[in-house]
Amino acid sequence: MSSVAATVPAAAGGFPGRQWSRGMVISLTALAVLAPILLILYQSLLDAPFFDQAAKPGFGAYRFIFDDPDFWSAAKNSCFIAVGMALIAVPLGAALAFLMVRTDLPGQRWLEPLLLIPVFVSPMVLSFGYVVAAGPVGFYSVWFSDLFGGVPWNVYSLTSIAVIAGLTHVPHVYLYASAALKNLGSDVEEAARMSGASPLRVALDVSLPMVMPALLYSAVLVFFLGFEIFGLALVLGDPEGHLVLATYLYKLTNKLGTPSYHLMAAVAVCIIAVTVPLVMLQRHLMKNAAKYVSVKGKAGRQRPLPLGAWRWLAAALIAGWLVVTVLVPLSGIALRSVVNYWGEGVSLVDVLTLDHFRTVFGQPALMRGIWNTVLIGTIGGGLAVICYTAIGLATHRQPDGWSRFVDYLVLVPRAVPGLLAGLAFLWVFLFIPFLSPLRSTIFAVWLAYTVVWLAYGLRLVSSSLLQVGAELEEAARSAGASRARTSRDVTLPLIRHGLLASWLLVFMIFEREYSTAVYLLNPGTEVIGSLLVSLWATGGADMVAALSVINVVLVAVGLGVALRFGVKLHD
């Protein structure tokens, strides 16, 4: 070995450059996250919209909404729905997880992706599906009353909203509970079996307490999502006038006729005041849950618990849940998109038509919406993953104050429901003069989407990053590579599959998203989600059905690709 120059060229270092780009990434993130929320806070403390020259600071907005009985009834409804959702989703999700992970339930392999469908289908589409399938003149309602002379359900009641919300959030609980069960070493259960406990006792005495932290976490999550509910309450709550906080905020404009930004901001602050503590609680619980899992024994081969004859009952229950939460709304919407009208005494064959799709394809605004939705999912999703990766790398294995700052920073968008985030971004674009031309471009929607899903995307990316062994990077550092060079030559090539999978998941999430785009809807910024909300308001049921089907197809394409390439839909 001759003398390779014992000096490393200084150019290979680039250490200051790296810090510079890191600071840049972190400050841009902070700006994108904090500017909207601070603007909401500022606006809520004015007594008129911020663009009004006469706006003065004061608590007038809060006083107004606190005096409004509708606000209190909306708040009560939100609580009712959130509690109901948690009560329904947590036990069902936990039972589902147990059946899927620990027993010999038939058909687990093809059941798994089906269980996750409600997560990936827009709540707007689902709720519209319930209206056309099980509403007073829905397909199934009409067929049912033809047979039995009446229907025992009413999808417009507050209880129905809570039940439907609960059923559609079962997968959220299932994801956390099944992950916890999979992590739980079988040895602790075997130890209980050896001490003489029956399978049921094992489930109740050992498995359940050990996954309790995960269940508690998902209960808080579902409760928190209950406060965010918008589409479901907008579509199903409207006929009987049930408002929740998000729909109350949405309807404020109609109420006064004038732009009442200060009132909306005050409601937004109230919602955030509920969600922020919940997010902090979740974070706390997550840490505890992780502590619990770290005592795991050997995970791995577990003998599934034989269910015996019960397996068919269990399978039937799961099938029933799938029928109610997936099949009924989706089949309803598919049917509705190909019929002219529907009601009692109408024969299906007489009213079949493809006109709705023709109309959609004929309207430039709707076509633009579809095109934008595709773009925002593919290119926008890709760009979002690039942003998330940049943020992930900026904090990767650098446990310092800046990383902790980013850690807390990403909690902020999680606590802000999409509807409010969209509103806040609208204001940012109105408030900051040089940004306003961007308001009518799809960039506005992309930025809002990217920030709203920051925590989700960052978690996808950092779970890939954490799989790269620290010593692989340290080996590159000691071979002479700077941090930036190490990221490029070692870290990024190793996580490329993870990043592609993240792109796919972000694609599906962006296809599904609707509430964030509602306030950003402009000629040029249409996406299917926001079009659904606005068309629903103007009663365009035909268009809504056709667009919903297109939306579901787009998500299904993503899901199909994900399943084809074996992308894990959850961790």
Binding site: M1, S2, S3, V4, A5, A6, T7, V8, P9, A10, A12, G13, F15, G469, E471, L472, E474, A475, A476, R477, S478, A479, G480, A481, S482, R483, R485, T486, D489, V490, P493, L494
Partner: protein
């Protein structure tokens, strides 16, 4: 010529002090082992030298250049220290071939393409990996992966090569072969190496000098012979070999010798360390205990509990009351009481 100089290095994780003032030197062509139980700070010291951990006091000089100085807040990042580091897990990049793994350091040093090919191939040949250049790490055996990791750390001729538990991922039998091979390689290439290990046999076999660490401090340093044959502290004596330990009171001290006594027995030994108290601990290597044919000085009569066959020898266990001795021998001995001797010079009393 001093290749590596560490002076009064302090490092802590939060309020938990890991290194509490460590100083050491490594000369050209010398192999130094950092030995110690887990948690003693040996790996941390190695990583601090590599630039992967951040000390808060002291200084590190590599090849005459300051790379860390707590006083002037100087800290050269890991990539500019020009060291070769072999990881315990080898840390081969799974997305690069063997050739690319080894060539990476040269690419970063802007070496020409032909020179890279030449140097990499000669390094691989040196380590007996000539045919494996195009393979990926997962296609190699553990021993081959270790050689690639070493080639990767050597190829750009670092002034010092750091090895973190280089043999611990090999199975027991291969480890001894690899030990001899590694020692041969180090001598052949005249490397200056700092090796972390927790295995005292490995440390003794591979290195010119051993640094024994305990709780963030250097307990004792010296050649393997000094460390094994002349330990200055009880910790060092205990760590370096297989020992019998006898607790008792010190009845008498005279001319560098001490008399350790207990219930019905007394033994003369070498007074070690700076203990001047009334109680002491006797320590004698298993292989120094001898079977004797009758009574005499420093002899005890004890019942045999069991003999264990170890293949190349027997190990006997004697036990009565507070006295418990293990000894080696070449033939099985019959049950009952035996005389055993603790030679005066081999029994250390701390």
């Amino acid at each position: 010529m001093i290749k590596l100089n560490v002076d009064d290095l302090h490092l802590s994780y939060g309020s938990n002090a890991i290194l509490k003032g460590v100083s050491m030197q490594l000369s050209r062509g010398e192999v130094v082992s950092l030995l110690g139980p887990s948690g003693s700070g040996k790996t941390t010291l190695l990583r601090a030298v590599a630039g992967l951990e951040q000390p808060h006091r002291g200084s590190i000089r590599i090849d005459g250049q300051n790379v860390f100085d707590g006083a002037t807040k100087l800290e050269v990042p890991a990539e500019r220290r020009n060291l070769g580091l072999v990881f315990q897990s080898y840390a081969l990049w799974p997305h690069k071939t063997v050739f690319e793994n080894v060539a990476y350091g040269l690419i970063l040093r802007k070496t020409g393409k032909e020179a890279i090919a030449e140097k990499v191939m000669s390094a691989l040949k040196n380590l007996g990996l000539g045919q494996l250049a195009e393979r990926y790490p997962h296609q190699l055996s553990g021993g081959q992966q270790q050689r690639v990791a070493i080639a990767r750390a050597l190829v750009y001729n670092p002034p010092v090569i750091l090895l973190d538990e280089p043999l611990s991922n090999l199975d027991a039998k291969m480890r001894e072969e690899a030990r001899a091979w590694l020692r041969e390689l180090i001598l052949k290439l005249q490397l200056s190496a700092l090796v972390v290990t927790h295995d005292q046999n490995e440390a003794m076999a591979m290195s010119d000098r051993i640094l024994l660490l305990s709780e963030g401090r250097i307990e004792q340093q010296g050649t393997p012979q000094e460390m094994y044959g002349n330990p200055r502290t009880l910790f060092c004596a205990d760590f370096m070999g297989n020992n019998n330990r006898i607790e008792g009171r010190v009845a008498e001290r005279r001319d560098g010798a001490a008399l350790l006594a207990g219930e019905g027995w007394q033994l003369w030994g070498r007074a070690c360390g700076d203990n001047a108290g009334a109680s002491g601990t006797g320590m004698i290597r298993l292989e120094r205990v001898r079977l004797a044919d009758g009574p005499g000085e420093n002899r005890l009569r004890l019942p045999l509990v069991t003999s264990m066959y170890l293949g190349d020898r027997w190990e006997y266990l004697f036990h009565e009351g507070e006295l418990r001795f293990r000894a080696y021998g070449h033939e099985p001995i019959i049950a009952g009481e035996h005389w055993i001797e603790m030679p005066r010079d081999d029994l250390w009393i701390f």
